[in-house]
């Protein structure tokens, strides 16, 4: 009985009159193109200096794109309701991170500091985790059915905690940081994986629960978060081993992907989830006449 109902649902889904499959495919292609173009500048840069400049410029640009889209969503959607509040939080988070990226780029390019870490930008990145956490926990629960009392949540949390523990231990043991700022640098380097590991749990669970629903099948923003965590992990390791200058390319490439995934996710919400035009107002009025 249960199987026949499931099959029935599946048939109806495939015959849905307003399939967003093509739109999803189109956005995926645009996203892949954007990732390829943005990262091509980093990969084909002839000198390490140019590669560094490209990396430092591309991050604020990609984050800025997500920030602009976030502001558009907030303008269209307002601040009420579950999605209203969640997207305000996301917009605040991405704005803080964009400012942080701009500060980093300014320090690196204008002030010629090879690796401007730690800096005021880190404060903005760290504060940004609060609104991001609000967004991640709210939407993972509402959209992807993530629940703290489910077995999958326990297993993923345990796996993330174990991996984070190992990662932080390896950071401490590999650390070659010395000097008066070393303690501060290590503390900040440790803070990132701690915060990342908290928010990556709903992101991973949402990814595991994805694939359903015309509007919700691709968890763009959660994928973006997982990519950010991977990039943070690599970047943190290069910081404590004093190899960030030579190994900056890999995290830069992943950060660009992450920001562009976030931009794609916000665009998807803006284009297909948020509706406030006259036609829809009319439909709503007719439905409630």
């Amino acid at each position: 009985m249960a199987i026949s109902r499931k099959d029935n649902d599946r048939k109806q889904i495939s015959a849905a009159p307003l399939s967003l499959k093509n739109e999803r495919r189109k956005l995926t292609m645009i996203l892949l193109d954007a990732i390829a173009v943005t990262n091509a500048f980093l990969l084909v840069a002839p000198t390490p200096e140019l590669r560094s400049i490209s990396g430092n410029l591309s991050a604020p640009i990609t984050a800025g794109a997500a920030m602009v889209l976030g502001a558009l969503v907030v303008r269209e959607q307002g601040i009420k309701g579950l999605f209203g509040r969640a997207y305000v939080a996301l917009a605040v988070g991405i704005t803080l991170w964009t400012i942080a990226e701009v500060i980093w780029a300014y320090n690196a390019i204008a002030l010629d500091i090879a690796v401007p870490f730690p800096s005021i930008a880190d404060a903005l990145w760290l504060v940004g985790y609060i609104p991001f956490a609000y967004y991640m926990f709210t939407t993972s629960s509402a959209v992807y059915g993530v629940h703290p009392r489910k077995k999958a949540t326990f297993i993923v949390s345990l796996a993330v905690a174990a991996f984070s523990g190992l990662y932080m231990a390896s950071l401490l043991s590999a650390s070659q940081l010395t000097g008066p700022d070393a303690a501060q640098a290590i503390t900040i380097t440790i803070l990132y994986p701690v915060l990342d590991s908290i928010i990556v749990v709903p992101a991973v669970l949402s990814l595991l629960n994805s694939g359903h629903g015309e509007l919700t099948s691709i968890p763009w923003i959660f994928i973006s978060w997982i990519l950010t965590v991977v990039a943070d992990g690599i970047f943190g390791y290069t910081i404590v081993t004093n190899t960030s200058e030579s190994l900056q390319l890999l995290p830069d490439l992943i950060y660009n992907c992450a920001y562009l995934f976030m931009a794609a996710g916000i665009y998807w919400h803006y284009r297909y989830f948020v509706a406030s035009n006259k036609k829809l107002d009319e439909i709503w009025r007719k439905a409630h006449a």
């Binding site: 649902d9 109806q12 889904i13 849905a16 009159p17 307003l18 269209e76 959607q77 307002g78 009420k80 309701g81 579950l82 999605f83 209203g84 509402a142 959209v143 992807y144 059915g145 629960n209 994805s210 694939g211 359903h212 629903g213 015309e214 509007l215 919700t216 099948s217 297909y272 989830f273 948020v274 509706a275 406030s276 829809l280 107002d281 439909i283 709503w284 007719k286 439905a287 409630h288 006449a289």
Partner: protein, 117 residues
């Protein structure tokens, strides 16, 4: 359509109000988008026709996937305000049932008790 889930007046008005609240809790623009998607999938908001809970469930699953459950939970919570606590607790305890089934069961109880008349 499952007969238990068919809703005619006078319960109809209560269910429609509860659905409005459930959708509205997501935010106005998202609620409007969902109404549009549901209508394009054949779910009718026409008040002269009986409310089709199965159609709503299927439509929401197509649009929202797993998060359909969130709307159903909100609908259940709103409707449960019109029922006796003991009945609500008894239905909530049916852990093997989906939220859609629980709403159907709740409607059965509401019909039995003459809620909305």
């Amino acid at each position: 359509m499952d007969e238990r889930c068919q809703v005619g007046s006078p319960l109809d008005r209560l269910v429609r109000e509860a659905l409005d609240d459930a959708l509205w809790s997501l935010g106005e623009p998202v609620a409007k988008t969902l109404v549009w998607h549901l209508q394009s999938r054949g779910f009718t908001f026409d008040r002269t026709k009986p409310f089709d809970l199965d159609g709503l469930d299927t439509g929401l699953k197509q649009i929202l996937g797993i998060s359909e459950n969130r709307v159903m939970i909100a609908l259940f919570k709103k409707l449960s305000l019109h029922c006796k606590m003991a009945d609500v607790l008894q239905i909530e305890a049916l852990s093997t049932r989906s939220t859609h089934d629980k709403v159907c069961k709740l409607l059965e109880v509401m019909r039995r008790d003459g809620v909305g008349k």
